[in-house]
């Protein structure tokens, strides 16, 4: 009886597999809208904790205090985030690029972390087109075969980064500034030489109270286009870089307990919009959102 009222959608999000033997994770693969468990195959949501590859001097004081024991060692930090805090993935941001550390050194640091943890690794550059184009291909080569998720890949540098990712067996994050038309455009360009089932879209996000509505509606529209309207160019999983946005708000900087709630609320909201991976900075918000959705 109930079946009469359920929708069957034509589109399906590509399932994406990261990591190597013993530490594989898959996500995406849904053929329905977020949390419509009753209608089809839901997304396999992933919670990533962020780890900086060098001293996170620009992080909120509350976080620096929280990670005081591990923040000088990315390997120890990543291990604790997985073993103690239960992260599904590690989201490693390459802030050492700001100090113009040699690319080979950065890549060696990434490889150490990737090999030290038993979950997949997401590696994220600065979002500066030239610097990322110089460093990410070196990371891709050094970590050849480790099946990482590399980004951000922009319209301005996809031709430099994506071929290296492809050659060395990594997936990529295609980033566009909150615009569904440009998300489609970049995927069309990538699709000419890069398999779209190895692409995750980052439409950029904002913290609650700082423009989250725009991020929400962009994600929601991308999901509707992909699932309901079967737009083949947008059937990639979505990532929401939440922690970085939340922990730069004055609320989170002033009061870590506020930051945790802010981070949880923002992440949950974006999961409702259609995010498949959310990246967080505090394990307590991770626990809160995970218990809310499971």
């Amino acid at each position: 009886m109930l079946e009469k009222f359920l929708e069957k959608y034509p589109g399906e999000i590509k399932e994406l597999l990261l990591g190597t033997e013993g530490k594989k994770t898959t996500f995406g693969g849904q053929n329905t809208l977020p949390f419509h468990f009753f209608e089809g195959k839901p997304s396999q949501l992933k919670f990533a904790l962020e780890v900086a590859d060098s001293d996170p001097a620009d992080w909120a004081p509350g976080l620096q205090e929280f990670y005081a024991d591990v923040k000088s060692s990315p390997v120890a930090w990543a291990r604790k985030s997985v073993d103690v805090f239960g992260a599904d993935m590690i989201f490693m941001t390459l802030n050492s690029m700001e100090k113009d550390t040699p690319a080979a050194e950065i890549a060696a640091g990434v490889k150490k972390v990737a090999e030290a943890i038993n979950v997949p690794l997401v590696v994220f550059g600065l979002g500066e087109k030239e610097k990322d184009a110089a460093v990410l291909p070196v990371v891709a080569a050094a970590c050849s075969g480790l099946n990482l998720l590399l980004g951000p890949v922009l319209k301005e540098n996809y031709q430099e980064i994506a071929p290296a990712a492809l050659e060395h067996g990594h997936a990529i994050i295609a980033q566009i500034p909150m615009d569904i038309n440009l998300a489609k455009d970049l995927n069309i360009r990538l699709g000419k030489f890069f398999p779209l089932d190895r692409v995750v879209i980052d439409p950029l996000t904002c913290a609650a109270g700082y423009g989250l509505e725009y991020a929400f509606s962009t994600m929601e529209r991308i999901r509707l286009s992909a699932v309901v309207h079967d737009d083949k160019t947008l059937q990639s999983p979505l990532i929401a870089i939440v922690g970085r946005e939340v922990w730069k708000t004055k609320e989170a900087i002033q009061d870590a307990s506020k930051g945790i709630v802010w981070e949880a609320v923002t992440a949950f909201t974006l999961l409702l919009a259609g995010a498949d991976i959310v990246t967080l900075r505090h394990p307590e918000s991770l626990q809160r959102v995970r218990s809310l959705v499971s």
């Binding site: 038309n181 998300a183 489609k184 455009d185 069309i188 699709g191 286009s225 737009d231 160019t233």
Partner: protein, 292 residues
């Protein structure tokens, strides 16, 4: 559709330099070439004309009238410049444009009555640009009523639904089409016009023409009376004249909701088909829509 040539406009460097330096020949040439291309009206867009509004408009109107025998669409937001132009037009001109805003009702619209001119009235009102067909209708009915009250006859009113760039809102184009289709029922006797090139605003430059061309066929078919267009887009003028029937047929079939098999199409036909699907909201727009 009646075509209004948009090429004398202040955003063009040639035009703005010629206007400020009072060089007649580039402007005369632009007017003649547009007339030769086959448009029916010439738009004279001098922008807000803050400096010497009266002198600028009358100088331009006089020189264009000497060069061509087409009626003129006077395009300025400055009522002083508008009045100066209206006073000397030999053929019944078009005021481009008035709207439902208080300021426009008070300062621009009365000029249509005073000079017995045609007047573009857009759906814009003090609340902004209405978002769907119904609110466009509501806004325009109120403004038409006001214009009639001033003594402007319905047949002199050219309604502008305002076309938004395709990259801003594909859904809005469909609302505009619905509005154009309902216009004869809600306001019998009014004419209509549209700033057609605005649809392709933001589209990669080399792809703007095909968007404008397909939109010409679609809007014309929906019943639009006239459009302000690029006079030098030969394919647009050809399509408007009913040439290239096989392309027109593809576009109209997309309008009717048909899905066509691209396998048998030439590259040109494919491009028109894909563009029609974008404008009709059947495929999500992206700047690389022709490449998939």
């Amino acid at each position: 559709m009646i075509l209004i040539g948009e090429n004398i406009q202040i955003l063009s460097k040639v035009v703005s330099e010629a206007l400020s330096g009072r060089e007649a020949s580039p402007l005369r040439e632009l007017a003649s070439k547009q007339a030769e291309a086959g448009v029916h009206w010439i738009d004279l867009n001098i922008g807000p004309a803050r400096k010497n509004p009266t002198e600028t408009m009358s100088w331009l109107v006089n020189l264009v009238q000497e060069a061509v025998d087409l009626p003129l669409s006077l395009d300025t937001t400055n009522p002083v410049a508008m009045e100066a132009g209206l006073a000397i037009c030999r053929r019944k001109p078009l005021i481009n444009s008035a709207a439902g805003t208080q300021d426009s009702k008070e300062r621009m619209m009365p000029l249509a009555k005073k000079y017995n001119a045609n007047v573009v009235i857009s759906v814009l009102n003090d609340a902004g640009i209405p978002s769907d067909a119904a609110s466009r209708a509501e806004s325009i009915m109120e403004t038409i009523d006001y214009a009639n009250g001033l003594g402007i006859p319905t047949e002199d009113i050219w309604v502008d639904p305002i076309l938004m760039p395709i990259g801003v809102s594909q859904a809005d184009t469909l609302e505009v089409l619905e509005f154009i289709r309902m216009l004869p029922d809600i306001a019998p006797g009014v004419k209509s016009t549209i700033g057609l090139s605005n649809l392709s605003n933001g589209v990669p430059r080399h792809l703007r023409h095909i968007v404008n061309q397909v939109a010409t066929v679609i809007l014309g078919n929906a019943g639009l009376y006239s459009a302000i267009v690029d006079s030098f887009d030969q394919d647009l003028l050809a399509l408007n004249a009913g040439e290239k029937p096989e392309i027109i047929s593809i576009i109209l079939r997309v309008m009717d909701g048909e899905d066509l098999d691209m396998a048998a199409m030439s590259l040109e036909e494919k491009n028109y088909y894909k563009t029609a699907r974008i404008i009709m909201g059947r495929e999500l727009y992206s700047p690389s829509w022709l490449e998939i």
